[in-house]
Structure formats: C-alpha cells, structure tokens
Amino acid sequence: MIIEIIVSVLILAVLIKLVADLKKGKITSSKFYLWALVWVALAVIVFFPGMIIFLAKGIGIERAQDLPIYVSIILLFYLLFKIGIKIERVEQEITNLVKRLALKGKK
C-alpha cells in the first residue's frame, strides 16, 4: 500500500508541473499530451497491476514483468534519437550565426 501512495504522490506532482508548464507555454501541447499519457498510464499500472499481465499477454510477451522494460528501452531510444536531431539543429544554427558574424566583420 505504501508504494501506491508514494508513486501516486509523485505522479500527481509531475502532472501538476506538466499543467503549469503548459500554461506558461514552456512545453507544446503535443509534448504535454505525450507525457501526461505516459504518467497516467504508469498510475493505472500501479493501481491495477493485473493490467500489465493482460497487456503483455495481448501482445505476446510471456513474462509480464518484461513489458515495462521493453517499453522503456523503446522510449529511451526514441528520446535519444530526438536529442540527436535537436543537437544537429542547434549546430546548424550556431554555424549560421558564426557565418553571419564572419561576413559582417571582414578585416
């Protein structure tokens, strides 16, 4: 029972922060929905652990404990990929900036 309380308090805090960020315009609405979904799904799993077994069986994973691991690995890879693309964009912007400065400051 204790784990349920701790996790739900945590998830609630994260959700409140997400809503606040959305209101302040710090994150886009699509990002908000993505993360809200992830955390709500987590909450559901904590309260109804049976769901996992049901879900895992549904997609053909024998050991239900493996499902969260698979999901997190996929999520991590996705995030890494997104970060890679983001860094590339930032690099391009820096290059553009340096180029403009060089063209302006010809000696």
């Binding site: 693309i85 820096i94 340096v98 060089a102 400051g105 000696k107």
Partner: protein, 225 residues
C-alpha cells in the same frame, strides 16, 4: 567576356603553408582569393592577409562545412561568376585548380570536381578502399556516382553555387555537396588531379576512423529531411 573567378580556401591552423598556397594561385593568375580562418590558434589569418587574400574569420571553430558555407557566400557577395574551392594544406596543385576553372568556363559545366581516384597512385590502400566505400554509400543514399566524393578541389558556376545548400558543418560536407549536385540535377564533370601527400598534409587530413562519423551524419541528414 572575362569571368570573375574567386578561389575559396577554408583554413584551420595553416600558417606554415597558407602563404605559399596563395602565392601559387596568384602565379596561375587566380588573384581573387578568400580565406576562411576557422578560428585558428595560430596566425593563419594574418599570414593570409599579408599575402593578399580577403580573410573572413569564424569566432568559433565550425569545421570544413561551416567554412565552405561562409566562403562560398562571401564569394557570391563579392560578385563571383565562378567559385573554386581548394584545400589550405598545399595538397592541391594550383595548376589543377586553374585547369578545373578553365574546364568549367570552356565546356560550360555547372560543376567541375577534381578527382584523386581517376589516377590514384600514391594513395594508401586503406584510403583507397575507404574512398570506394564512401562513393558506394553516396550512390546508395543520393543516387549519384562520382569517383571521388571526398576531394576538396571543386569549381562551381555562380548559379550552381547559389543552388547548393550546405547544412552540415564538418567533414560530411563533401558528400553533402555531391548530394546537392544530384538534387539540383547540375551538369558536372570530374577531372583527374594529382595530389601532393606530404607528411604535413597527411597529418592534417582526415583520419580513416572519421568515416564512421561521416556515415552516421549522412544517415541522420537523410532522415531529417
């Protein structure tokens, strides 16, 4: 009509050789020279300026792609009809630069590329194999086959230079330019060139392991589009 020809030289820590490269180009009557000093730690910019080049300085190092991008734009702003690029380390013979420029003007191509592979003696086997691999990959990704995708000697007509969009910052720019030639369906010709591999230019050139980085970046750029 006399064409307004500009030579763009991206340079990073090349104070020892940049002066003689500029002087040799001038001997070939290539007098309009732009040097992009990619935030060198030595006096590359001063030496280049002293030898009569127009120098643009990057405040932080951006790599070959960034420097070429700045240089080509600078040449376009200077009113160039023809833009040549060559390496700052002295590996390109200035006669070859001149010949490439003349080929473009006389035969009316959009792009002329110097190829080290048409006559590749003097190049190590590992380097030759890597080059072949790079060519194959470039073909698979961008559908255009050239014998040397990684060479630094290129000549562009003004309209070609305006069409080619350089986005990558570092060594992968070489393949990117090939991709842009394919995308814009530019008419190009490869001419054989001889390169002078001195200990100096070998030490400064690309490491073979750099290939993995380039492949990764090219795949990424393919996905990002």
């Amino acid at each position: 009509m006399k064409k307004n020809v500009w030579v763009v030289i991206p340079a990073y820590n090349e104070e020892k050789v940049i002066g003689s490269v500029i002087d040799n180009l001038k001997k070939e009557n290539l007098k309009n020279i732009i040097v992009i000093d990619d935030s060198s730690h030595d006096s590359t910019a001063e030496v280049a300026r002293k030898h009569g080049a127009k120098v643009y300085s990057h405040i932080i190092n951006r790599g070959l792609g960034g420097a070429l991008n700045t240089g080509i734009t600078a040449a376009l702003v200077s009113g160039a009809d023809v833009i040549a690029t060559c390496d700052a380390d002295g590996q390109h013979r200035t006669e070859d630069v001149k010949r490439a420029v003349e080929t473009l003007i006389k035969e009316g191509y959009d792009v002329v590329l110097g190829s080290r592979m048409i006559n590749s003696k003097g190049m190590s086997l590992s380097r030759r194999l890597l080059n072949k691999g790079a060519n194959m990959l470039t073909y698979l990704l961008f559908g255009i086959y050239v014998t040397d995708t990684q060479g630094g000697l290129r000549v562009f007509s003004r309209s070609a230079a305006e069409k080619i969009k350089i986005k990558t910052s570092r060594m992968e720019v070489s393949s990117e330019i090939i991709k842009e030639i394919g995308r814009n369906k530019l008419r190009f010709k490869e001419i054989p060139i001889e390169v002078i591999y001195t200990d100096y230019s070998l030490a400064k050139g690309q490491k073979n392991t750099n290939a993995f980085r380039i492949i990764y970046k090219l795949l990424l750029s393919r996905i990002m589009r």
